[in-house]
């Protein structure tokens, strides 16, 4: 599944702020500087709103949000 525009907009804005390239689906979002611990907190809030899912606190760790692919898989698992 493709992520909603509001989610990709967040990642693209974050990449611009960090001076990083626009992230592609397999890029490591943390290594490229698109996300860090603080940005991840905001990102999860956007993801919950845009994808209409609830992310439990125990799932808020970088492994679930490492790349756009892992984020898509995670959202699918929450919707399923």
């Amino acid at each position: 599944m493709a992520l909603p525009k509001g989610v990709t907009d967040f990642l693209n804005d974050s990449a611009r702020s960090a001076g990083a390239e626009q992230p592609q689906s397999g890029d490591d979002l943390f290594r490229s500087g698109v996300l860090d611990s603080f940005a991840l907190v905001d990102f999860v809030t956007v993801l919950e709103e845009q994808c209409d899912i609830k992310v439990p606190d125990s799932d808020v760790n970088p492994a679930n949000f490492q790349t756009i692919e892992t984020i898509e898989r995670y959202v699918e698992s929450r919707k399923g």
């Binding site: 611990s37 603080f38 991840l40 907190v41 809030t45 125990s58 808020v60 970088p62």
Partner: protein, 332 residues
């Protein structure tokens, strides 16, 4: 019966330690420390200073502010992570140094949430009629535990020494803050993400698990990413919940007086709650993270600034090792 915070006090050591003085040893630059924490300087106590003596000094100021004497105190709650001794708790030492009567004195070990736990217990004691004047004393001397090497730079840069005390009473007086509600929570799944392992029964003592061979277990451990992620979520949720159950919204709160963990984390929480930055009380720049004492130091600083108006709501959120977290709500 209602419980009020009727007096506050604080005490910090004289020794000011700037980022510039420690940056090189920590493998960081002074500006890096400031940018990642909001801290420019902290106070570190002279060797030999005890945590109880710092707490007793803050307690004296709080009693003076509340207009009561040591003889009027009928319960002492003492919060610290850095006690004078392993046994007994340091509340006994504070009692002796402060000239309190032969009253119940209890140590609490809820780390950076000690102020909230102390206020919740003090409120219960006052509202039940078990006590009239409870002192919640909070103190830390963390500098003695810090590893000042590059390996621990991002932990050691944060912490300062300091103490605060809050008098909780049944009788309201001018400038008092009514304690309306306190919400607390814990998730022990994160017990290893923030804290100090030894000495203890799980990993051992100096006899069974030497500090030479296991030095990492005797120093502060922090999984920074886990702390930030969980703190940001838990503090925000606790704040929302305590406001909701009192039919309030963040825009009705005038002051947020949080545990002073890290300026970036506090800004994140304020942003998540859509809370205006001008109401966020921070003393991080001058005192760093004083753990148990930090919320009390921030509250005392705000009260003495004279900026609190009658009717103002104050939100008191905190997060600490355990993990434990919570939020308190007061009204001026």
């Amino acid at each position: 019966m209602t419980a009020f915070i009727t007096g506050t006090g604080m005490s910090v050591p004289e020794g000011v330690v700037t980022n510039e003085e420690i940056a090189e040893r920590l493998g960081l630059s002074a500006e890096q420390i400031f940018k990642s924490s909001g801290i420019r300087r902290r106070r570190w106590a002279a060797p030999g200073t005890t945590t109880s003596s710092l707490g007793a000094a803050a307690l004296r100021f709080a009693l003076e502010d509340a207009g009561i004497s040591a003889a009027d105190v009928d319960y002492l709650l003492f919060g610290t992570m850095t006690p004078d001794r392993f046994i007994p708790g340091s509340a006994s030492a504070v009692q002796k140094q402060s000239g309190l009567g032969e009253i119940p004195c209890l140590d609490i070990r809820a780390t950076c949430c000690n102020a909230l736990y102390g206020l919740q217990l003090a409120r219960a004691l006052v509202e039940s009629g078990a006590a009239k004047n409870v002192v919640v004393c909070l103190a830390e001397i963390q500098s003695a535990w810090l590893d000042l090497s590059a390996a621990s730079g991002t932990i050691s840069m944060l912490f300062g020494d300091g103490a605060a005390a809050l008098v909780v009473s049944s009788e309201k007086r001018e400038g008092a803050l009514e304690i309306i509600d306190i919400l607390l929570g814990t998730d022990g799944a994160y017990v290893d993400d923030l804290g100090i392992r030894c000495p203890g029964t799980e990993f051992g003592t100096a006899r069974s698990h030497s500090s030479e061979e296991h030095s990492g277990d005797y120093g502060a451990r922090m999984v920074g990413q886990s702390v930030i992620l969980q703190a940001a979520r838990k503090i925000t949720a606790a704040s929302q919940k305590v406001l909701e159950r009192n039919s309030l919204t963040p825009d009705t709160v005038r002051w947020m007086v949080p545990h002073q963990a890290n300026a970036n984390l506090l800004a994140q929480v304020a942003r998540s709650l859509r809370f205006p930055a001008e109401g966020l009380v921070s003393v991080l720049e001058d005192f760093g993270n004083t753990s148990s004492a930090s919320m009390g130091i921030a509250l005392d600083t705000l009260r003495r600034s004279g900026r609190i108006q009658t009717g103002d709501y104050l939100l008191l959120p905190a997060f600490g090792s355990g993990f434990t977290w919570g939020a308190g709500l007061c009204r001026a």
